[in-house]
Assembly symmetry: C2
Amino acid sequence: MNIKIETTEDVEGLGLVKGFKVSGIGCDIRGKGDFSRLDTAIVFSETDANAAGVFTTNDVKAAPVMLDMRRLSENPLARAIVANSGNANACTGNRGMEDAEKTCRIAAGELGLKPEEVLVCSTGRIGEFLPMEKLEKGIKEAASKLSNSAESSKAAASAILTSDTRSKTAICRVDCGNGSSFSVAGMAKGAGMIEPNMATMLAFLATDAKISSDKLRNSLKKAASKTFNRMTVDGDMSTNDTVLILANGLSGVEISGEEISEAFDKAVLEVSRVLARKIVGDGEKITKVVEVKVREARDSEQAEKICRSIGNSLLVKSSWFGCDPNWGRLTDAAGYARTGLDFEKLDLYYDTTPVIIQGQPKPEFKEEWKKIVSRKTFTVDMNLNMGSAEESILAADLTEGYVNFNKGE
Amino acid sequence: MNIKIETTEDVEGLGLVKGFKVSGIGCDIRGKGDFSRLDTAIVFSETDANAAGVFTTNDVKAAPVMLDMRRLSENPLARAIVANSGNANACTGNRGMEDAEKTCRIAAGELGLKPEEVLVCSTGRIGEFLPMEKLEKGIKEAASKLSNSAESSKAAASAILTSDTRSKTAICRVDCGNGSSFSVAGMAKGAGMIEPNMATMLAFLATDAKISSDKLRNSLKKAASKTFNRMTVDGDMSTNDTVLILANGLSGVEISGEEISEAFDKAVLEVSRVLARKIVGDGEKITKVVEVKVREARDSEQAEKICRSIGNSLLVKSSWFGCDPNWGRLTDAAGYARTGLDFEKLDLYYDTTPVIIQGQPKPEFKEEWKKIVSRKTFTVDMNLNMGSAEESILAADLTEGYVNFNKGE
C-alpha cells in the first residue's frame, strides 16, 4: 500500500467526517441574558460508534467526568456527546451527578438514543449547579440543528470555548492507496481560565474508520500522552479535562494490519498534536510557546520530570516573557526536579545554538541567544548525556496579563 | 526549673550572642562601582563552635554549598562563616570550587583560623565567576571590622541581602530559671530574585548554648523542616539555599536533660519561624502571606503534598492577589496533588469561616470570605477528615509586579 496522510488545520470541523453531524447553540448557561454566545454543542454519529476517552487524573473530578468514565468502562460505545461551556458542574455533589445524568437523558430523548449512548462534558465555573431548564431548551435546539454543514461545525467548535480567543480544529485524511480513505477530525477548547474560575481542556475527535474499541483506546491514549499530556500553561490541572473519540466505521476502512494501524495512530496523533499546540498557543494572555526537550536522559521519567520542572517554573516563564536568555533559571529548575542530574555533563541549546556544553557556559553566543528567545516560538534543548530517553513538552510564558486576567473579582 | 523563652524580632543581630562578632562591608561584588552597597559579611565565633547546616536539595548545587556540606560531614565544627551577595558562584565548575576554597583560605588567614574552620555562602547571579580580587579586599576589610556592636550586626544582616527590601533578624533568649540563660539569634535573606537571576534563601543562626553537634544538627533539621522548608514564594528552589548554625557554648548552659533540650529546640524553632515568615513576607512584589493548613490527613506526606499544590498554584496565587475568595481553585489544586482526596469529606475554612463542609459549599458566608481574603494575611484551613496528620506552609500571592520584576532584560 502507498498510504498518504495529510493534516489540515482550522477546518470547518467534525461535520467533515462521514456520518457525523454536529451543532452549537446559545442558551445563556452563563446567566447573563446573552443568547448570542454559543455554549452548548452536540456531536452525533448516525450509526453506532466505538468510543474511548482520556480524563483528568485530578482527585476532584467533575460529575460529567465521573459519568463518562463509568459509561465507557461499562460499554465503550456512544452515539453522541453533549457539551456545555460556562459551567463545569464540578464540586456539585449528588445533584451534580443527577444533572449530568439528566443532561444525557434529555439529549437521548431528542436524538432517539438510550441515555447510556450519550457522553457529557462541561467546562466553566466550579461549584455551581447547571441551569437545567435553560440547558434542556438548549439541548432541544441543538438536536434540531444537527447537520454536517460548515456552519454547524463552526458553531460546535465555538460553543465549547470559554476564555479561548479562537476555535481549534484539525482534520487528518488518510488515503489508503487502494481507492479507500478515512478521516480523523478534532475540535478542542483550551487551558484558559473561565470567568473567575476554572482552566479546562476538552477535545473531541471523530473518525469514520472501523476500529475495535481496544485499538481505539490504545491509539487515543498513546496520542494523548504525547500531546495533551505534554503541555502546560500554568501547571493547573482541571477537574474536567476530557478527550473523547468516536469511531463509526462508515468509511468502510477497517483498521487492521500493521501498516494501516500505524497510519491510524499517526492520524490521531497528528490531529491531537495540532489541537494541543493550538491550546497552548491560545493560553491566557501568553506571548510565547516554547518547546522544552530533554534528551539522553536515564529514562523517560527523568526526562519528563525535568521538562515539567522547567515548563512550570515561574522564574523561567517570566524570563521567557521578558525575552531574557536566562539559562541559570533553566538549570536551576532542571536541578530541583531532583532526578540525579549531573551539571558537569549537561549540554543546553536554544534551538541549535549552544548555551552550555558539558557544564561550561558559552557566552560567546549571547547575542544569538537573545535573538532566539525573543521569537514567538523556540526550543529549549537540554541533553543530559546520561542515557537515551527523550521527552518534550510545550509550555507557555507567564505574563503580567495572565495574573491580571486571573486575579478575579 | 521555671524556663522562660522570649523571642524578639528585628533586633540588631548576631552580635547580641555571647562570643560572636560580625561585620558587613561593601566591595562591589556586583561590579557596578558601588561600594556603599554592602555585599560581604563575616560571622565569627571567638571560640570553637559546633556547627550544623541544612542545604538545598537541588541537583545543581553551587560550589559553596558543596564545600560546606563536605566540611560539616567531615568535622561539624566551625569558627566563621563568610558570605557574599551579588554572585552565587553556582554553575561555575572547578574554578567555582577553587574560588570557594580560596575564599575560606583568605578569611582563615585574616582570622587566624584553619581554612576548614570557615564555612562559605554565596547568593546572587548564577554562572559567573566570583570577582576574587575584590572579594579578597572585602574579606580583609570585613575581618578588620568584626565587632559585637549594633552597627556591625546591622551591617552583616544587610550585606547578605539581594532583592530583599529589608533585613531579617530575630533573637530568642532562654532564661533557665536558675540564674543561667542562653540565646539563639538569627539573620536571613529572602527568596527574592537577584538582578536578573536567582532566588536564594540564606539563614545564619548563632547560639552560646553548649550543645553536642548531633543534637545541634537534629534541632536545626527539625526547625528547618517546619519553617524554611514550609514556605513558598514562587516554588523555585535555588542552587544555593543554606541554613547554618554555630554553637560556641560560652553561656555555660549545657543542653542536656529533657526540659532544657526542649527549650533549646523551641528557641531554634521560634527564631527560624520568625525568619521564615519575614522571608515570605518580603517575597518579591508580593502583597499577601497566606498560611495553608491541611488537617486530618491520612499522613504527613498527603498533607504536605496538598499544602504545596495549593501554595504553588498560579491560579490560587493570582486569586489571592485579586482578593477573590475562589474556593474552586483551592479544591482543584488540592485534587491535582493526587493524594486520594475525597471531595465529599472535605471541610474548608477561610480562617474560621466555613467555605465547604463535607463537600457542600456554604455560600451564605460569601461576604465574610471576601473580607478575610482581602486581608494581608489569612489562613486557608482544609480538613480532609481522613486521619490525624497535619502540615502547613506559608505561601505568597502572585502579582503582576512579580512577573514584571522577574521578566529580566
